[in-house]
């Protein structure tokens, strides 16, 4: 198959881009695909920590772009998955080192190496790093929290995906956009304290690819440097597995989106 480039983006920080990039890349690799996941957050790299390979970073994306290392030297093989590789962001360089030509060459070389998917973990914001991460994308995962500022920033990013990317500029088929709602709390939605998934879809008007419930397990996973999808039996892991399956074309019903039935006292007195 031709290499597909996926950007994981959101505009707002702290919504779960890196968590999602790590779990999506891992899930695709577990499905037998050859996957590279690239951290575009130059200066504030974190994907290496979430993937648990921080002590094995020798060369990074900028080293490759500037010709100080080749891709084989810079790609870090994942501990769990045979066919998953991480390309870290530079911690020390200036983000101006991330040139469009440089990024294009890295992506092309990865494609030539036979990768099926390249997952680009975008930095927050709408500066050059975020633009570079989305520029060459074929598909976009828009990570959104059920919260006003995140939804607004996602809308802004949708505008950029439709105007500033290679596909938009060259008038090709538009980037396939998928909405991923994370940190979702069905109980609070039922109580009217949190935007529901229908509300968010109404507003952003793109196709939903999954809902990841708010969970303590995400912290447990990042503590250990283990992508959350590996935490077998947890809701978060199951939700990410569903996302990967849907991404690969399977039809999976939504899970973890219904509120727990309230007990008798709660129904009378309310409160949490």
């Amino acid at each position: 198959m031709a290499t597909e480039i996926i950007v994981v983006t959101s505009g707002k920080g702290g919504v779960g881009k890196t968590t999602t990039s790590a779990s999506l890349a891992t899930g695709l690799a577990m499905a037998g695909k050859r996957v590279a996941v690239i951290d575009f957050d130059v200066g504030l790299r974190n994907l290496d920590l979430i993937m648990g390979c921080e002590r094995r970073v020798v060369y990074d994306l900028i080293n490759v772009i500037q010709g100080e290392a080749n891709l084989n030297q810079a790609l870090i093989k994942d501990k769990q998955c045979e066919n998953l590789f991480v390309l870290a962001a530079s911690q020390t360089r200036d983000k101006d080192a991330l040139t469009q030509e440089g990024v294009e060459k890295v992506l092309k070389d990865l494609a030539d190496m036979g990768f099926d998917y390249i997952v680009c973990d975008s930095p927050a914001g709408i500066e050059s790093g975020a633009l570079m991460a989305m520029h060459f994308a074929d598909e976009a995962l828009l990570v959104t929290n059920p919260e006003v500022s995140s939804v607004r920033d996602s809308d802004r990013i949708l505008g950029m995906l439709g105007s500033k990317t290679k596909r938009a500029i060259e008038g090709k088929d538009p980037i396939k956009e998928h909405l991923l709602i994370t940190r979702y709390n069905p109980n609070r939605v039922q109580d009217g304290q949190m935007l529901g998934l229908e509300d968010i879809q109404d507003i952003l008007r793109i196709k939903l690819i999954g809902v990841v419930p708010e969970s303590e397990n995400v912290l447990q996973a990042s503590n250990q440097g283990l992508p959350a999808i590996h935490l077998a039996g947890t809701d978060v892991s199951e939700a990410y597995k569903d996302v990967v399956a849907r991404f690969l074309g399977e039809d999976k019903p939504l899970r973890f989106t219904d509120a727990a039935k309230p007990g008798f006292f709660k129904r009378i007195f309310g409160g949490r």
């Binding site: 919260e147 006003v148 939804v151 607004r152 809308d155 802004r156 505008g159 008038g171 939605v189 109580d191 009217g192 304290q193 949190m194 935007l195 529901g196 509300d199 109404d202 507003i203 709660k266 129904r267 009378i268 007195f269 309310g270 409160g271």
Partner: protein
Amino acid sequence: MSLLSFLLGEKKKTAAVAKERLQIILAHERSGRNAGKPDYLPALQRELVAVISKYVKINADDLKVHFERQDDLEVLEVKIELPEAAGGK
């Protein structure tokens, strides 16, 4: 919603307020984002002039490209003025 809060006559849920606020601000921001003309217009005009010039002799300013948006409808208008003598029998 609990029975108690129902009996007390609760005010509007905050999630509904959030949705309404988002719909209003995003409608505004989206219209601002697309307010200008699409940025392909100058290139489109140049290329159209080049193509038509292959068959009919026209000047660059004989061809006008105009873009308009009314509510949900977008209209791309291309006006080509042929010189009087052009194509004469």
